[in-house]
């Protein structure tokens, strides 16, 4: 049985990754998960300098999911390169570093630093507000996405994954723009902007007022978007949004994802990634699937 998948020339032993921001850089989960068994570890977003993040409360529970407004707190690229990359290098897994910024210059500074580091890929979080464009997220404007992707691609020196925000009218337009800019792969979905009001306290549940909704509640939206994007571009797609079980992951794969990421589920099941990877193998055994790649996008063939 062959669970390997390849994204932009990088071969993963299985299609299961961690979703950025839900797994730190792996240290905290090391007690629960053998990182060697993961296809890749995707780290928490890192910026050119440390970010303080948002005031608390930063999270709230929503029906079947959660809402977060962490505000991308991170130690900045210096500490990250010194501490987190060497930690992850001890394991036989691929390292994908998620990058955030407020301006093209900030993204480029981080990407340039990472271009010399022993990592496998970069994932660019374009859900961040662009200070030069009235705080509209980079990922909400196709023109900006194509330009930023091209600028990053030029200096990255390794494959780049553009991580798409679902908070747009037509996600395929953004996906095509990223592909046109030279993205090697696309990942989606980031969180859906939401709001929850605590009626007893008569205020917002999270201090930031709005937060990103994730977890099982968003899965049908994520599967739909992954399906649309996989059918709109040629580059591989990494699917995420509410994956907690192997069946969830397989929905994304059948819809066209080459790999998948597990996010919010880590919080209530620290072994979720491993259980998803094992469950995919069980499914392959049950359905006599030799190569996982045979399953990618085949829902179309059955339609």
């Amino acid at each position: 049985m062959d669970t390997r998948v390849t994204i932009a020339g990088v071969e993963l032993k299985n299609p299961v990754m961690t979703a950025s921001g839900t797994f730190g850089s792996g240290q905290e989960y090391g007690e629960f998960v053998d990182l060697n068994q993961l296809g890749a570890v995707v780290t928490k977003g890192v910026a050119n300098v440390p970010w303080e993040g948002n005031p608390t409360p930063r999270i709230a529970e929503v029906h079947g999911g959660m809402m977060n407004a962490i505000g991308l707190q991170n130690p900045g690229i210096d500490v990250f390169c010194k501490r987190d990359i060497p930690y992850l290098k001890q394991f036989d897994t691929k390292i994908i570093v998620n990058v955030c910024g407020h301006s093209p210059e900030e993204y480029l500074e981080v990407v340039e630093r990472l271009s010399d580091e022993p990592i496998d890929m970069m994932e660019i979080n374009i859900s961040c507000p662009n200070v030069n464009a009235g705080f509209l997220a980079f990922g909400q404007d196709a023109g900006n996405v194509e330009k930023l992707t091209a600028q990053i691609k030029k200096i990255a020196g390794r494959p780049i994954i553009m991580k798409l925000t679902p908070n747009v009218t037509d996600i395929t337009e953004i996906a095509r723009a990223a592909e046109a800019g030279g993205a090697d792969a696309l990942s989606l979905i980031n969180t859906l902007t939401g709001m929850q009001i605590d009626v007893e306290r008569r205020t917002f549940s999270v201090a930031n007022k709005t937060g990103g909704v994730s977890g099982p509640a968003v899965k049908p939206i994520a599967v739909r978007m992954v399906y649309q994007v996989a059918n709109a571009v040629k580059v591989p797609v990494i699917g995420m949004g509410g994956i907690a079980t192997a069946e969830d992951a397989l929905e994304f794969i059948l819809a066209g994802a080459t790999a998948v990421a597990v996010g919010t589920a880590n919080f209530y099941n620290p072994r979720a990634t491993i259980e998803v990877a094992e469950g995919i193998k069980d499914y392959m055994r049950r359905h006599k699937v030799e190569k996982l790649t045979e399953l990618i996008g085949i829902v179309n063939a059955h339609a």
């Binding site: 905290e28 608390t56 930063r58 709230a60 529970e61 099982p216």
Partner: protein
């Protein structure tokens, strides 16, 4: 590295102490063996619509039997804690722990200590009272009705404050300290923020070392998601800003270290 476990725990017993306040003993095996006072566990509901953990402090630890006791408040209708309160002996629950740092026992060894609890911050003071080796003055504040008082009486000099004056000193825990002219060289405290803020101020005025147990909303409970931060004086170990994680760097902090 401290060991943490995620496991299914059987409920050994559950008892309603007061309307809305429940006491549950759990068979928690290795979690109980590793636990120290002031640590907490994440408790998960069986309800797939309520996915996040409920962090609950350890009220008692029975290492021999591998049992843990939690005492918790049901916060409202259709909450996770309400679901816990309906569980009975033999039911099972997912838990993770032991989490957080716990109260430093060495700091209080042989010293004259205040152990202060307020409201639903009272429970963790019980195991601390049992394990702390020093002169213990247990000062517990309640709105009106009291719980765990008999257990406290057996583990130190017990003082009581109630807001409505129905028992002990009328007022808050600091009123009880003043009314009884109590003094200490170290303070351990857990309770609502206004109480912790007042104790922090008191400790600074009197120049007493003071440890407070903080609360914040949590998702991972193990230091990965950065949901549960509090403003700290020192730079934190994770992001090198001033945001210590209540779940991992805490929940117990020096009062001078954190903004309350």
């Amino acid at each position: 590295m401290a060991c943490k476990f995620k496991r299914t725990a059987a409920i050994v017993s559950q008892e309603c102490l007061l309307p809305g306040i429940f006491s549950m003993w759990l068979e928690a095996g290795e979690i109980a063996k590793e636990a120290v006072p002031g640590q907490f566990i994440s408790m998960y509901t069986k309800d797939k619509s309520k996915l996040l953990p409920r962090p609950i402090s350890l009220c008692e630890i029975d290492k021999e039997k591998g049992f843990l006791r939690v005492v918790y408040r049901v916060t409202g209708k259709d909450t996770g804690t309400e679901q816990f309160s309906r569980m009975v002996k033999g039911d099972t629950i997912e838990i993770m722990g032991p989490l957080g740092n716990g109260f430093p026992l060495d700091a209080g060894k042989g010293r004259k200590a205040f152990l202060i609890g307020g409201g639903i911050g009272v429970p963790p003071m019980l195991e601390l009272a049992k394990q702390l080796d020093g002169e213990k003055q247990l000062i517990m504040g309640y709105r009106d009705k009291q719980f765990l008082t008999e257990e406290f009486e057996q583990n130190g000099a017990f003082y009581l404050a109630t807001e409505d004056g129905s028992a002990g000193t009328k007022g808050n825990v600091l009123d009880a300290i003043r009314e009884n002219s109590l003094t200490a060289d170290i303070i351990y405290a857990c309770g609502p923020s206004p109480m912790l803020r007042a104790i922090k101020r008191y400790a600074e005025e009197k120049q007493i070392v003071c440890y407070v147990s903080m609360e914040e909303h949590m998702a991972c409970g193990i230091g990965a998601c950065l949901a549960c931060v509090c403003k700290s004086k020192e730079v934190d170990g994770h992001s090198h800003v001033h945001n210590k994680r209540v779940c991992k760097d805490g929940p117990v902090f020096l009062s001078t270290e954190v903004e309350i």
